[in-house]
């Protein structure tokens, strides 16, 4: 087990270094850092001096090591677009994205799992067929279109919910939150549904197919023969055994939620990190792009690592001396 964890750690570091290399090339060779700092008209001698001072005349590997060192301390320089420090820009917008992704994940899990259990237990029931049809549409409709349709229905036609922005927020230190006021919570509803719908359909389909499989096994028949209640069989025995793949998929999807938040944030004018990234792509704001890339890379690597470790916690077969299965 230790060998496995070490191998995964080395792999994760390799992935991070590759992402760092891509970020570094973006940062250093796409666009001209000097021109973006002092403008076109500065005399050549002055530019040369600045170049020397910033270490841009060092060899590429030395610059790369400096870049990684700065990145590890969260230093990515100034945004080309707003001239603010990149780390502050990102930190300001992080709470909005994290709260949105969290609510979307909660929505996907707490609606997706019951829907999946139900349509796995009663696959022929009309509502199960309805769930299946809805999930097919959920997979086929692009996220932004779902968002627009929700806005049209609930904001423009019915006037029930706000369609853009975070509404009312309160600030605790550097963290701004939506959770303290009714207006803030209302503003979260539509974006969370939009962002979570794809994950919901994914979880529902997964739970459904796992449930269908588990219900056919002998130990479920045996549990029935023992006279256990339906409730104990369905939830205590069947659902518990479907949860291993659900944990994996949900974990891996958590990263996608944060990445896909950029589409939802644009639809709902939600001031998060994703919206910042889109603006930086539109303006070719390379420092922000490089920092976002590193951040998402770190996030994905961490999530993959945690999910791999969760296998050991959830599945007892992987623990103990049987771990050397790869050698067989």
């Amino acid at each position: 087990m230790l060998a496995f964890i070490l191998r995964r750690l080395v792999q994760s570091i390799a992935v991070l270094l590759t992402v760092g290399l891509v970020s570094f090339f973006l940062f250093r060779y796409v666009g001209d850092p000097i021109t973006s700092m002092v403008g076109q008209d500065t005399p050549a001698a002055e530019r040369e001096a600045l170049k020397e001072k910033l270490g841009l005349n060092d060899s590429a590997p030395v610059q790369f090591i400096h870049f990684i060192g700065n990145a590890a301390r969260g230093q990515f320089g100034l945004s080309y677009r707003t001239s603010e420090p990149v780390n502050r820009l990102i930190l300001e917008r992080m709470p909005a994205t994290l709260e949105l992704s969290f609510c979307a994940a909660v929505f996907a899990l707490f609606v997706g799992i019951p829907m999946g259990v139900y349509s796995g237990l009663y696959p022929k029931h009309w509502s199960s067929r309805l769930f299946q049809a809805v999930s097919l549409i959920g997979v086929s409709l692009p996220t932004f279109l779902i968002g627009i349709l929700l806005i049209l229905l609930f904001a423009v036609i019915l006037h029930w919910l706000p369609s853009f922005g975070r509404g009312q927020t309160s600030t605790f230190g550097w963290w701004t939150t939506n959770f303290t006021s009714w207006k803030g919570l209302q503003a979260l509803i539509l974006p969370s549904i939009t962002l979570g719908l794809f994950q919901l359909t994914l979880i529902m389909r997964l739970v459904r197919s796992e449930m269908l499989e588990v219900m056919r096994t002998d130990y479920i028949k045996f549990a029935r023969a023992r006279g256990l209640t339906n409730r104990a069989i369905n939830f205590g025995h069947a659902l518990k055994n479907t949860l291993v793949p659900v944990i994996t998929v949900t974990g891996l999807q958590l990263g996608s939620l944060i990445a896909f938040a950029l589409v939802t944030e644009t639809v709902f004018a939600w001031p998060g990190v994703g919206q910042l990234f889109i603006q930086s792509v539109q303006f070719a704001d390379i420092p922000v792009m490089a920092a976002y890339l590193m951040l998402i890379g770190l996030l994905f690597v961490l999530i993959n690592l945690v999910v791999d470790l969760l296998y050991f916690v959830v599945d007892p077969r992987l623990r103990g001396p049987g771990t050397a299965r790869a050698g067989h």
Partner: protein, 307 residues
Amino acid sequence: MASGTSWLSRAADSDIWWSFKSSTLTVIAAAVTVLIIAIAFLSPLIAPHTPFDPSTLSLSDGLKPPAWMQDGDWAFPLGTDDQGRDVLSSIMYGTRLSLVVGLASVIVSMLLGISLGLVSGYVGGATDAVIMRIADVQLTFPAILVALLIDGVVRGLISVQRHDEIALFVIIGAIGLSFWVQYARTVRGSVLVEKSKEYVQAARVIGLSPVLIMVRHVLPNVTGPVLVIATINLGLAIISEATLSFLGVGLPSTQPSLGTLIRLGNELLQSGEWWITVFPGVTLAALVLAVNLLGDWLRDALNPKLR
């Protein structure tokens, strides 16, 4: 023996055709796909207006609702946008662009993935390791992020005005580069299996070139899986293009795809002009749903385990 009729009758007799005929949903999906493709590519002939010729536009036609509503005009069946452009004609031309980008980027990623997969599997060693590690790193990120990043880099390298001119190629390249991994992995796996078989060894012994062996002997074994990936990826590529254009980093408003049309209409949604957004959206959804259903069917039909 190889006359046209015998090929047709053999095709009509095959398992695939039978499985196609027996699935009503698939037949409907195929019909919808063919219909949308036909209308899109015939748009210069059958569209009622030429929406992107400024001389035919009149602002007094602006923001007309669909024809069946009050103030509607049958000259503009699905209404007009704020510039007086006919929504129906915009959708026809826009669908054509969406399809062109989708198909072209699928071809780009397919060619790239197949060749990298062949090289990786056949050459092996360090080349294989490098290609597959790059694939691993890329798979860590969602495809849309990779496409966005490529688009952003190109914007950093060239001027904005120049970017609008070549936006079509940039977006095809960006989406194409973000979907190659699946093909490469599939092809590589199949190459590894076939490489050790006797007929490939025999071909090597008689001195055929590696390129010829790969193209003539190894590639035919992967057409099925590659076709399935391509169909499923076509839906994904169309969604990616629409998403990028919606985010404002895809096709410009002078050259609008379905995604661009939805973005432009979205700005007017709050004031109640829903038709400018909803009709392109419905078209996009129908197209992607139909292509996805075809992809699902093809995957099941070509899977020997399910027969």
